[in-house]
Amino acid sequence: MPNYFLTEEQMMIRDLARQIAEEKVKPVRAELDEKEEFPWEIVRILAQADLFRVWVPEEYGGLGGGTLELCLATEELSRACAGVAVTYAGSALGGTPILLFGNEEQKEKYLPPLASGEKLAAFALTEPDAGSDAAAISTTAEKVEGGYVLNGTKQWITNGGEAEIYVVIAMTDKTKGARGASAFIVEKGWEGFGFGKKERKMGIRASATRELIFQDCFVPKENLLGREGMGFIVAMRTFDRTRPGIGAQSVGIAQGALDEALAYAHQRHQFGRPISSFQAIQHMLADMATQIEAARALVYYAARLIDSGEKDISKISAMAKLFASDVAMRVTTDAVQIFGGYGYMREYPVEKMMRDAKITQIYEGTNQIMRNIIAGELIKELASRR
């Protein structure tokens, strides 16, 4: 595999994440999937290995890395189990708005426990009637003495119920539409903040996806993230940073599927020969590998661009997520095809990978929304050149 000019530290992160994936995740992934069990034990192993620290600045207990470091770890974990990987990356998704928009007190309070892995975070935007149309959210934050009172329901929240720290987007002024939303840091256990049903999913079943219910939940004014009305800016800037992470997850799932398919094709005999000797199989494998490498190159490039401090990252970030997730879906589908009937059976790992891959085309913005973003940026660029 090309080394992508990684630094020694980045290779260290990748190798340690790979070791954990191989030794600790692979042996339990089928069981976690079957039982839909939250992987607390693996979370603790990741914490002890310092992997939650990679994206957090050193002054808050992190290792001072950025998006690329987070992507490397996410990719390796996804190679073994995307459900574990999204649990890990989901905490970074919840922590990123605090890193980007938090004031000094908020960062000092909330980032160190996320870096140590002692606590998990979650990001809450989606609602039953507000998915792609995020501006349609109806959760409200009413201004009161000393803070705000939240009411409403958030849906499909990754790490919901398990995380201690939540960044929640709610409307402070409904009359202003998208400009009337604000972001809040809410802690598990606060009065009026509860959890609804835990979703039963097609894939990434080790991860927790749950409803958050706010009923007159008081949030002190110190926990407003950024300023009032900045809620959607917080959300969009956060996604711009974290979408390459979904790309990395996709690359990892696809790589895991190729690894399995290649090994199987070599060992499976039909017509008296290993099936890897048939050109039909060989060309599938070649296409899978090529698509994965292209996706990885795009994801790493997007991550590096973000880490370089570049401001205009919406397009490249959306491209990385869009392309890599489509690759993951195609590659995992082909992996099942190479496995034939065995691939369809739960005894073999590729059907899970195919189920896991599907969500990468849907969450953190559907791939249709990704295309909207990319096209929108293209047209904006054209207009600015005129």
């Binding site: 020694e8 530290e9 340690l16 192993i45 620290r53 290792l63």
Partner: protein, 260 residues
């Protein structure tokens, strides 16, 4: 409590090749790993430190590249590491090795020495116990649990074929550990970064004040007479059927073989 963990770098393979000329292990070209049993020793050292305080010092004897094994131990959380490396040590058998290590252990200072029960390349299981003899301290081999350390004594469980024994001995002492004792931790990123930067002192025969005639080939009385791969035993035969029939057949066969 000062804990010294002695580790060995071994080839990363279960199929060890032997040089027909020198009758020693061929180590060239095979990546080295920490002897798996020594991982349990490192882990137990770290756990005892977490329980009782003190320091974990890791020691290995070997060629310069054995430093990698020490860095791995540092990445897991060991406080210090020392490499005992000197051309004069080449060709040491277990007696010479254990002597040299014991001299280095003395120099390091210790309350407890922990070794893996054996190395997976040589498989002798001699170096640990021999070190205790050189040091003149009590030892327990095959430890599966350290129950407690208190009042200058250590209480351990020794794994036996049919269970375990509980033994107590005064410190300083030496134990060798079996895989039942713990599950070694993975390294952490911060540990790896620390380990990468760590300065690892290299000690020579002179540094540890060892008698040069007691180390290396000269100090090694062991003679390897012959090295061979044992012949594969022929597959047995499984008799099937009702117990009475099978018993009759068995007696017949044993009589035919002249065993009974």
């Amino acid at each position: 409590m000062d804990i010294v963990v002695c580790i060995k770098q071994v080839p990363e393979t279960t199929e060890v090749k032997i040089d027909p000329q020198t009758k020693t292990l061929v180590r060239e070209g095979i990546p080295g790993i920490v002897n798996p049993f020594d991982m349990y020793a490192i882990e137990e050292g770290l756990r005892l430190k977490e329980r009782y305080g003190g320091k974990v010092k890791v020691l290995t004897m070997g060629p310069p590249q054995a430093e990698d094994a020490l860095r791995e131990a540092l990445a897991m959380g060991a406080d210090e590491a020392v490499l005992l490396s000197d051309k004069a040590l080449a060709g040491s058998d277990t007696l010479a090795t254990s002597y040299a290590l014991s001299m280095a252990v003395r120099k390091l200072g210790y309350d407890l020495v922990i070794c893996g029960k054996q190395a997976v390349d040589g498989d002798t299981a001699q170096v640990g116990p021999e070190m205790a003899e050189h040091l003149g301290v009590p030892f327990v081999a095959w430890v599966r649990k350290v129950e407690e350390v208190s009042d200058g004594k250590i209480k351990v469980q020794r794994l036996m074929d049919d269970g375990y024994e509980v033994l107590e001995m005064p410190l300083p002492a030496l134990i060798t550990v079996v895989k039942e004792i713990n599950e070694p931790r993975l390294p952490s990123l911060r540990g790896k970064m620390r380990a990468r930067k760590a300065q690892i002192p290299v000690w020579t025969v002179e540094d540890i004040g060892a008698d040069p005639s007691r180390v290396g080939l000269e100090g090694s009385p062991t003679q390897v007479v012959r090295v061979f791969t044992p012949e594969r035993r022929a597959g047995g035969e499984i008799l099937q059927g009702e117990p009475e029939e099978v018993a009759d057949k068995l007696v017949e066969k044993l009589e035919a073989m002249g065993v009974i």
